[in-house]
Structures are given as structure tokens and as C-alpha cells.
């Protein structure tokens, strides 16, 4: 077979005599000579294509290494970070508060969260929560209210993720509790509202995001940074759904943030009064490029 012979010749698999004989035929057979030339070209073309692919892989590795050296690990470019907390807001969904890491830490580690709540609340706009006209019916409202729980995670460089439940006001608890005595509700509410959680907790989530996320190439090249907020629901069974871009930066970054969230495994569902309850969650993902 001609192709096979040419291949052997070009790959140097012929012995000296064979090669010589082949070259002699080539010298008199113009068609063969041309076939050899084309096949040689094809091999060079294959090399070129292969080299390009390798160069692209090399470029990805280089970028990864560069990021890693900037912050210590690939976490450096985008960190999921500081505080994850949620609050109740039925009307003004955009209103959310930011509690400093310190404040949240205090709350989280305190055995009785109540006394520390005001610290955090000081920095929060409490109005929308209090004004919320929640109570219309009783039991049915429970789910609805819970669905409106928002969890905001903020992602800040080099700060650990802290998940916390924002303090809920009296009215809210009277709803979740189904209308019992308010003064008791503070306690029960606090004890019973459990936030949904990524399997393995926040550090696992941070790691999951850090290992799976990639900085979109164009955005990286153009230096586009920002915080994409993705909202999604966690059903009673822990299934994620209703993914929406809550705050957009650009298509590429939005898509990447969305891709990561959609890739997440089932969570453990949030609970209100011990009952698994569907809740909404907003997860901000910070895309940041740090110069060395």
C-alpha cells in the first residue's frame, strides 16, 4: 500500500537499502514524489495542530500557577468568603445587611444568640423586616415565609466563611411558630431555624467553589472583575433549583458563577421548627484579579 510505504519512509522505519530503493522510485515517479511531499506536509501540519493544543494547555497551566502564587493557592483569584448569613425580607428583597465578620463570629460562638443580636442588627436595615405584613393565615404561611428567607454570603478575600442566621424579629417568629406566645418564640425560633447547608459545611463549599471555578478567559484578559450574586432555592429534600442571576457583572462571569452553583451537590435542607423547609439562598461569588 502506497500510504503505508510512504509512512515508513517518512518515519525512518525503512532500512538503508529500502530507503535508497524507495528514493530511486521517487526520482522517476513524479506522482509518488508528490504524494510523499503531501504526506510529509500532513505530518508537519499534525505537529503544528498538536503543538498549538499543547501551547494552550501550557497557557492554562501558567495562569493557574500565576494565580496560585498570588495568594498562595488558586483560592487567590476568587474566594468565597467571609460571611454567609440570611435574613427575612418579604417586601424589600434587595435590602440586606452586612455584619462584620467579628460581629457574626460573636453571634455564632455564643451559646445564646439573643443578647448578641443587636450588635449585628445595628448595621442592618431592620425596617423591611418589621414592616412585613406576614400574618394572614397560620400554618400555610410557614412555608411561604421560610421561602423568603434570604441567605447572603459575602465573599471576601482571605477571610473565612462564616454562616450565620440573621436575627429574626418577633413578627416573623410568631409566624413560624404558628402564632404562639411571642416571648417564647424568640427562643424557639432561634433554636429551631436551621439554615440549609452545603454538604460538609462552609469550608467544603469554599473548597468546592475554589477547585471548580475558572476565571473566564476573556473576562480575565480584559480585567473584568466583580461580584456575581446567584439566587437559588434549596427544597425540603435539599435539591437546588430556581437558579437566577440576582446581580450580574457580565455574561461570562454570570455564566461561570451559574455553572458552579448548578454543579453543586444536594444540600442539607434548612429547617424551621424542626421541619425541613424550602428556602432561598443568595450566594455572591467574587471575581477578583490580584496583581502580584
Amino acid at each position: 500500500m502506497e500510504i503505508e510505504k510512504i509512512e515508513q519512509y517518512l518515519l525512518g522505519k525503512m532500512n538503508g537499502e529500502e530507503a535508497k530503493a524507495f528514493e530511486q522510485v521517487m526520482a522517476s515517479d513524479h506522482n509518488l514524489a508528490e504524494s510523499v511531499a503531501v504526506q510529509k506536509e500532513m505530518m508537519e501540519g499534525l505537529e503544528r495542530v498538536g503543538l498549538k493544543t499543547d501551547a494552550q494547555t501550557g497557557y492554562r497551566r501558567y495562569k493557574l500557577k500565576m494565580w496560585a502564587s498570588q495568594i498562595g493557592i488558586a483560592l487567590g483569584v476568587l474566594i468565597i468568603g467571609a460571611g454567609i448569613w440570611y435574613f427575612v425580607s418579604l417586601e424589600d428583597k434587595k435590602a440586606y445587611c452586612i455584619c462584620s465578620e467579628k460581629e457574626m463570629a460573636t453571634i455564632e460562638h455564643s451559646e445564646d444568640a439573643m443578647p448578641n443580636q443587636p450588635e449585628c442588627i445595628d448595621t442592618c436595615p431592620p425596617a423591611p423586616m418589621i414592616e412585613t405584613p406576614i400574618i394572614e393565615s397560620e400554618i400555610e404561611e410557614v412555608t411561604e415565609t421560610a421561602e423568603d428567607l434570604k441567605i447572603i454570603t459575602d465573599t471576601i478575600l482571605e477571610i473565612d466563611t462564616i454562616i450565620n442566621i440573621e436575627v429574626l424579629d418577633d413578627e416573623h417568629y410568631s409566624v413560624t411558630g404558628g402564632g404562639s406566645d411571642n416571648s417564647n418564640m424568640h427562643q424557639t425560633g432561634n433554636d429551631n431555624a436551621i439554615q440549609p447547608e452545603f454538604p460538609g459545611g462552609r469550608s467544603a463549599m469554599r473548597q468546592f467553589i475554589a477547585t471548580n471555578i475558572r476565571y473566564p478567559q476573556n473576562a480575565f484578559n480584559q480585567g473584568i472583575t466583580g461580584t456575581v450574586e446567584v439566587s437559588f432555592s434549596i427544597s425540603e429534600t435539599g435539591q437546588l433549583g430556581n437558579y437566577k442571576i440576582h446581580k450580574s457583572v457580565n455574561n461570562e462571569l454570570d455564566a461561570e458563577a451559574m455553572r458552579i452553583i448548578k454543579k453543586m451537590p444536594k444540600w442539607s435542607p434548612g429547617k424551621v421548627a424542626g421541619e425541613p423547609t424550602s428556602m432561598n439562598f443568595i450566594l455572591p461569588i467574587v471575581f477578583e484579579i490580584r496583581e502580584e
Binding site: 503505508e4 503531501v38 501550557g58
Partner: protein, 190 residues
Amino acid sequence: MNQAKIIAQLKGGDREKAFARLYRYFPKIERYIKMNSGSTEEALDIFQEALIVLYKKVQTISTHSEVNMDGFLVNTCKLLWSNELRKKKVRKNSGEDGLQQLAYADEIAEQVEKERKLSVIEEVLNDLGKTCKDMLNAFYYKRLSMDSIAKKFGYKTVQSAKTKKYKCMEHARKLAIAANEESNLKTSAL
């Protein structure tokens, strides 16, 4: 940077690692090209092309060669970019004249021209279909044995994989001849 190590990697088939190391020169090239009316995208293309030219060069030298790799890479990028600017009809007054004096200028220009011709073949390979392209790539570029290629592509016998590979090459050859004729026609029409 350990130049001998990179040369060894480029010669020894550890190309991805070597390229990853060489990309540390990219920011420098990017700045240069951006200063000369180019974009980051263009800089990436130029740099990639320069890596291929450098790779070919390295195949001809010994591990302990005195060739200054970063100089070679930078010069290649400069020459490639000046070609690009000429194509775009953007004449730069400064810098252009000096380029012919760059080290390795002729050698680089020769390889650049070869690669330019090969881009025709590149298109042919892209038209060939994924299986054929991957298979030829596995054999000729990655230098895998027909045995492992047969396994990888799901052929029951090595012989049937070989037959497929020859058919692919035959098909590719035909496409290449047609493409060459076409580009010759275009050139003569110009």
C-alpha cells in the same frame, strides 16, 4: 529559569510543561504588542505562534546549546508582529528598520513562512472529522503505538485500526491537494 531543563522538556515530549514555563515571558510580549497597536488576543496568537517556531528551533539544537531562548522567543514575536502590522497596513515608523538586525532574524523568518503554509493543512485537518484528526494526531504527534490506538478508539484488531488510519491519511491527502490547488489559484489570480 533553567534553560537546559526547558530544552530537555521540549525535546523529550514534555511540551506542555515547557510551554507553561515559557509563558512567563508573555506579559512582556503583551505589553510590547499593546504598545504597538495590538490587543491581548493578538498577543496571545503571536506568542503561541512564536512558541511553535521556538519548538522547531529547539529540535535542531543540543540541550546545552548557547541559544538564548528568551531572546529567540522575543525576537520571533517582534518579527511576527511586524508581519501582522504589514498585513494590516499599519506602518510603524519606529522599530521596523531595526528588525532585520535581530538575532536569528532569517532563521525565524524562514520558519514563520513554513508555518504559514502549514496553516492550510491545519484547515484541512479541521475539515477531516474528529475521529480521523484525533487518530492521526495520536499516531503522528503523540507517537502512540497502533496497539494503544486500537484500544483507545475501540477497534477490535490492530489491523482494522491501521486500515482506518490509512484511510484517514488518504482522505486528508486528497483534501490537502485540493486545498493547495485552490490556494495556488488564488495566489495566481492575485
